[in-house]
Structures are given as C-alpha cells and as structure tokens.
C-alpha cells in the first residue's frame, strides 16, 4: 500500500475514524488499533515479512529489558551485542549478502582465483533498514542510560511499526516517539489541519514533480550513451529533483499522517537545496538518518573531538556507512565517498558549522555571496546524485565524462524534450514556493496564517487540481528499496 494510492485513501479515513471515534479516547485501544493497522499496512506489501518485523520487535524489546536489568557492564554489553549482531545480521543477509559474496569473488578473480559462489534470490523486505535502525536506537539509548525500557509490548511495537514511518522513515528515536505513544493524546484541530496540509504538499511533490521527472530520468539514465551532454545534464538535474521530491514528499505525507493521530515525527528535510555548503546540506537532507549516524556512530567514534586526522577519519567512516546504508552497490559507496570529499575542506578549516540558519533568513532575496554559495553546493549535489542513480560506477563516470564535452553546448535531444520544458517551469515555480516558505516547517505551512478561509481553501483546491492535471506516471517511492 503506497501513500498515493486508492487503497491508502480508503485505509487512512477508516483508521482515523476508528482511532478518534471508535476508541473514545482510550489510549490502550488507540495503540492497539495503531498496531493492528500498522501490521495490516505492512502485510499489504508482503505478509511473509511480517514475521521478520515481529521478530525484530520482540528481539529489541527483550534485549532492551535485559540490558537494563543487567547488573554489570559486561552483561549489558553482551546483550547489546546480541541485539546488534542479530539486527545487522538480518540486514546483512537480506540486503548485503549477495553484494559481499560477489565482490569477494570478483576480488579473488583479480588474482586469478575463480570461485563459484552461492547467491541468494530473495527480495528485500520493505522498510528493513528503517525499522532495524528504530530498534537499534532503542537498545543503544537503554545501554547509554538515556531511557528506561518500555514495559508495555504494544506501546513498543507501535514505536517500531507505526505505519506512517514504517517503510521509509523518518527514523525515529525512542526518546522522541515513545513518550508520545505512552501519553494520552487529544485531538487538536489546528494540528490535524496542518497534517492534512502537509499531506497535500507531499502529494504535490511526489505526483507532480517526482513522478514526472522519473519519466525523463529513466529514459536518459538507461540510454545515456545515446544522448548529448546537455541531455545528460538535464537528466541529472531532473533526478536531483526527483529524489528530493520523492523522498521529502513521502516524509511530508508521513509527518502529516502522524499528526492526524496526534503524533509528531522527526523532521526529515529542511529545504536542502538552499544550502550554502555541503555540511549545511547534510543538516537539511534526510535529517533523521544523518542525526542517527551522528549520535550512534560519529560521536562514539570521537566525533569532531581529537586531532584533525581523527576528525577526517570519522567523517569518511560516517559517509561511507551512510552510502552503504542506502544499498549494496558500489555506486552508493562512491556517492558517500564523494560527499565526504566535498565536506573535507570544512572539516579541515572548521567551517562546517558556519551556516546553521536558513539562507537569507528574514529577507526576501539572498545576497550575491549566498546565491553563488547555493549554486555551487547545488551543482556539487547534482554531480553526486549521478553516482546514486547510475547502475554502476563505470556508468556514472561515463555519464559525467559525457557531460563535460562539446555536446553540452548543443540543445538537449532526448525523447519528449519539448514536453520537459513544462516540467522545468513547474520546478521553477516549486522552487520559488519553497524559497518563500523556507522558514516554515514545510513550504506551504504559512497558508495557515491567511486570515481569509476562502483564500486558504482556494489555494488547497488549486493544489489538488494541479496534482490531478499534472500527475505523472505512478512510480514507487525510491526509498522503499532501501
């Protein structure tokens, strides 16, 4: 069941109605309903992987308790290791086994040893990277005495499998989400309206921009040898917006949906394409994952403390792991590596926390310095996304090589180029709206401040009809594959 489907359009009002009207404010009933509906939501993908989800939930619930009850450090560490090994073990088998075994065989073939290896034909359970990280954050926090274990198994299960975040995040923390699940929730009119508004904006991003970009991106990336440099550049530009609107659109729908149930999820995006350097970009892109790695990997490794070399080492580790988290392919590792290289100067010169506020805060227009910094960061980001989208590293390098030749000065020539001009116009309008709303939680949150209800509704209706008119070919959310 995907968010932009008829099934979800039926599922959501039913769960919403039962949640607020059927439960009559009974928290236990509400949480039970959320759990059942979340499991139903997940089972719609593939019911067989439900067992994996339930097993992972029981494992972390149980090991969390054991860590807390252990009297000595050694025992605590042992239980933590059991949780880490089993969780990452599942992730390893389902997501990385084939990659490691084939890479190992390739490496051996370089030295003349040809081995027959056994690869497994298994589909990746949707959301496994996300719910594994939910569970791990829970046991890490208990180990570090940040939280005490949740006593109620249903509450904990809701934390792991709450349907808006189950398959593609945001990656929640027990410290943030569990207290909301255990506390009585009251319906808040303005929050519910805000949730609906954010869902609408998420649908716009996904259906109008991401799905339309996908058509051109697929054509160009899959046949990149046939097209001119300018076409490839435009393909990379479209992918830059496809991935942003696809993933941030999903996050908007997830956050908006959760808000309808009185739950606030972690913000996942904060206008990353207005970043003035790569460090800022990573504070604004997939925030829940970046902060997860920061808290549970970067800081334990020493973070930004220590000498320059350890800072550089930690930065490279975190970016390589982050790249590898996305998928078992060298392209993701290269993408992570490239970002680490981008960020390196700011680590060396300690300028990585220079741009903490949004660009041109409180002003309508940025100054020249800001414009050029945003532009350069955006171009670097486009270059990195080429690795992310390409099938292999060789393809990515050839793609980039083809961009930097004389054919980049000829008009783009891919099928549907003239139609794509309409999409470019929509992207420009979208970016203007994002710029105007960049100081809000999401671009159109400011509509709530319009005093005139008719005007507000006209804007909403216009967005709905723009979605209907400019809808692209329905595509699955990119991050479901991770």
């Amino acid at each position: 069941m995907i968010f932009n489907s008829l099934n979800f359009a039926l599922f959501l009002p039913i769960v919403f109605g039962l949640y607020w009207f059927g439960s009559k404010g009974n928290l236990k009933l509400q949480n039970l309903l959320l759990l059942i509906s979340s499991y139903f939501f997940y089972a719609c993908w593939d019911w067989r992987f439900m067992f994996l989800l339930v097993f992972s939930t029981i494992l972390d619930f149980f090991t969390g308790k054991k860590i807390y009850l252990s009297e000595n450090k050694r025992s605590k560490l042992n239980w933590l290791l059991i949780s880490i090994i089993i969780n990452l073990g599942f992730l390893g088998v389902f997501k990385y086994y084939n990659f490691f075994i084939s890479s190992f065989a390739d490496a051996l073939s370089v030295v003349g040893l040809n081995v027959n290896y056994f690869s497994i034909q298994v589909i990746l359970p949707v959301g496994i990277s996300f719910y594994t990280f939910h569970g791990l954050s829970y046991v890490f926090d208990i180990y570090k005495n940040k939280i005490i274990p949740e006593k109620n198994f249903i509450n904990y299960s809701v934390f792991v499998s709450f349907f808006p975040l189950l398959v593609a995040g945001p990656i929640e923390r027990a410290t943030h989400l569990l207290p909301q699940i255990t506390k009585k929730r009251h319906f808040d009119y303005s929050k519910a309206v805000d949730g609906m508004r954010q869902i609408l904006w998420g649908l716009f991003k996904k259906i109008v921009i991401a799905d339309n970009c996908a058509t051109y991106v697929n054509t160009i990336f899959e046949n990149y040898t046939d097209y001119s440099g300018s076409s490839l550049l435009l393909g990379a530009f479209f992918f830059t917006f496809q991935i942003y609107c696809d993933f941030s659109g999903y996050s908007d729908i997830a956050l908006g949906t959760a808000r309808l149930f009185g739950i606030e999820l972690l913000k996942n995006f904060a206008f990353p394409y207005f970043s003035r350097d790569i460090a800022e970009f990573w504070r604004r892109w997939h925030i829940s994952l970046s902060s997860w790695f920061k808290d549970y990997l970067y800081i334990p490794l020493g973070g930004s403390k220590g000498n320059m070399w350890s800072r550089i080492r930690n930065t490279f580790i975190i970016f390589l792991v982050s790249g590898f988290w996305h998928g078992a392919n060298w392209t993701y590792i290269c993408w992570g590596l490239l970002n680490a290289i981008y960020i390196l100067p700011s680590i060396i010169f300690k300028t990585n926390r220079k741009n903490l506020e949004i660009a041109a805060k409180g002003k309508l227009f940025p100054n020249f310095h800001e414009i050029s910094a945003i532009f350069i960061t955006f171009c670097l980001t486009i270059l990195a996304w080429i690795f992310f989208r390409s099938a292999t590293v060789i393809d990515a390098l050839s793609f980039i090589k083809s961009i930097f030749n004389s054919s980049s000065f000829t008009p783009p020539d891919f099928p549907g180029f003239n139609l794509s001009l309409k999409l470019i116009f929509i992207i420009i309008v979208f970016q203007i709206i994002e710029w105007l709303g960049r100081e809000q939680n999401y671009a159109i949150a400011g509509i709530a401040n319009y005093a005139n209800r008719t005007l507000r509704w006209m804007v909403y209706i216009s967005i709905i009809f723009v979605i209907l008119i400019f809808s692209g070919v329905n595509q699955e959310f990119i991050y479901f594959q991770f």
Binding site: Y189, A192, V193
Partner: protein, 307 residues
C-alpha cells in the same frame, strides 16, 4: 473534532462539485463532437496496433484510421457506436481480427489500459458500457477517475486550438523500427517479445467476443458493411504453434462465418516492410495502404476472403 469533520466534509463537497462539473462538461463536449472530421470519409478503420500501423489514411484517403495501440473490441465498439449514431457518410467498417484479439492474453481489459483510457472514453459510454467496465475492474475505474480532469483540459484545449491531427481516439501511427532479428531470436528461445504478447493459451477472451458480437450486431442494425481484417504478419509467427492460427481459423469458421473476413496475414509483403512480427513499418504501411487504395476492398475480399 466535530469542526474538523464538518470542514473536511464541506471542503470535500466543494472539490467533488468542481470535479463533477468538469466531468459533465467534458462529457457533453465530446458528445457534441464528431470523430469523423471529413464527409469524404466512407470507411472507418478500427482495432489494435496491428492495423493502426498498417493503414495510412492519408494514402487510403477515403478511410479514417481510428485504431489505437492495444485497443480491445470494447473500445472499438464505443467508437463505432458514436460514429454510426452521428451524421456522416461512413458505410464500411474495417475491424482488426487476429488470433491475439480473440485468445486471452490478459491485457485487453487490463487495469493499466483502463487506467489510461477511461478518462478519454467515458463520454462515449452509456450506462451499460460503464457498468460492464466498472464491474469488470472496479478499482481500475475508480483509480482512473481523477485523470478526467487532465483529459478535460486537453479536450477543451483541442476544441479551441484544434491540432493538425487529433490522436485522442486513435489514428495511423508510423513506425520506423526494425527489430525482426531480435524478435526472431526471442521466438526461438520462447522469450517474451517486445511490442506484442503471445496469448497465454487458446482460451477465448469472453469479454472480447461479447463486444465483437455487439459490433457485428450494431453494424447489421445500421446496415453498414463490416469487414474483419487480419493485416500482414511475418510467416515465422504464423507458423509458431502457440500463436494459434489453426485454432483461430477454426473459431472463425465455427462462429462468424457469416461475417466477411479478409485474411491478409499471408500477403506477400517484403521483410523490410515489417517493424516486427505483427507491425508494418513506414515502408510497409505505405505499400499496404496503396494496395488498399488501388484495389477495392471487395476485390481483396474476393482474393483473400475466408469463406
């Protein structure tokens, strides 16, 4: 909570009213339009991509090709019904008829086709046609509803800025590809072929036949001449047992012997005139359309008619 539900209902009602008005106005817009743009046209060509790519109506100029890729008889029926109910000079209908039109290959009334076609074709439907589609694939029909808005905009735009050639309900499609070597290999290996799907088995697609019968009855009641036509195909495919030529001929002779059937599938057309096994390329369509133009349909029936 009450306020939220109340406002949500009011808002949804407003959106629904705007949506309904668009659906209705688009319905009447298409209803008032004619699919036949010229009184010179006496023959209408309908069917799937085989005939869509074969007959160039700028060469075979007293015909209008309104066939469309993967059109099932359901959509052909909707078009014929509208054409024959409007005032025009159409007296003959050429309808594609080949094994893959009759044997179930699972795509003719597939959800994806309904999803992409419903918004275009609903103005041609009466209640029976709509309910047939709706009860066959309710989810696909509901999912396709929002696309009406997009289609309405296109239709209104076409009304005020008429395109040189309107492909909304089909039209001749010139193809330049030649993938014969590739599809030959796939046929030998028994692999899935591009641009065409071998029927899964020789089970009759009942819904297709139902609408084929409706087309035949409609043409009879309106006293129009209907020719079933099988366009040229590659011999490798015709000899491929799974394509079901033998079963198809038996089916025709058993059920439709009274309907004229011109089987041009084995017509002598050079290999370089084919884009693949079942589609003529631009060279082939030029040749084939000239044959149709200069030899009368009745003459072709005399030569190639299945009797």
């Amino acid at each position: 909570m009450k306020k939220f539900v109340k406002n949500l209902l009011i808002f949804s009602t407003i959106v629904t009213i705007i949506f309904a008005l668009t659906v209705i106005s688009n319905f009447y817009l298409i209803k008032s339009e004619s699919l036949i743009k010229s009184n010179q046209k006496k023959i209408i060509v309908l069917g799937d991509s085989n005939i869509e790519c074969a007959i160039d109506d700028s060469i075979f100029f007293n015909a209008q090709n309104l066939s469309a890729s993967s059109d099932s008889y359901y959509y052909s029926y909707l078009k014929i019904k509208k054409i024959l109910n409007n005032k025009n000079n159409i007296d003959t209908i050429l309808l594609a008829f080949a094994p893959h039109n009759i044997f179930d290959n699972g795509w003719l009334l597939s959800e994806s086709h309904i999803y992409t076609r419903f918004a275009t074709y609903y103005p041609l439907m009466n209640w029976d046609d709509f309910s047939f589609l709706f009860f066959s694939k309710p989810k696909a029909v509901i999912s396709a509803f929002p696309r009406i808005i997009k289609q309405s905009i296109i239709n209104f735009d076409n009304k005020f800025n008429p395109p040189i050639k309107d492909f909304t309900y089909g039209g001749f499609d010139r193809i330049e590809r030649n993938v014969l070597p590739e599809v030959r290999k796939k046929l030998i290996k028994g692999e899935k072929m591009p641009f065409f799907k071998i029927p899964d088995n020789f089970e009759i697609a009942k819904k297709e036949v139902l609408y084929l019968n409706k087309i035949i009855n409609l043409c009879n009641s309106k006293q129009k001449v209907l020719f079933l036509i099988n366009t040229p195909k590659r011999i490798e495919l015709l000899n491929y047992p799974k394509y079901g030529v033998k079963e198809f001929n038996a089916f025709y002779l058993k059920n439709y012997k009274s309907v004229h059937f011109i089987d041009l599938s084995k017509m002598d057309i050079p290999e370089d005139c084919f884009g693949d096994f079942v589609h003529l390329n631009s060279k082939g369509s030029k040749l084939f359309s000239n044959i149709l133009q200069y030899k009368r349909i009745e003459y072709l029936y005399e030569i190639y008619g299945v009797k």
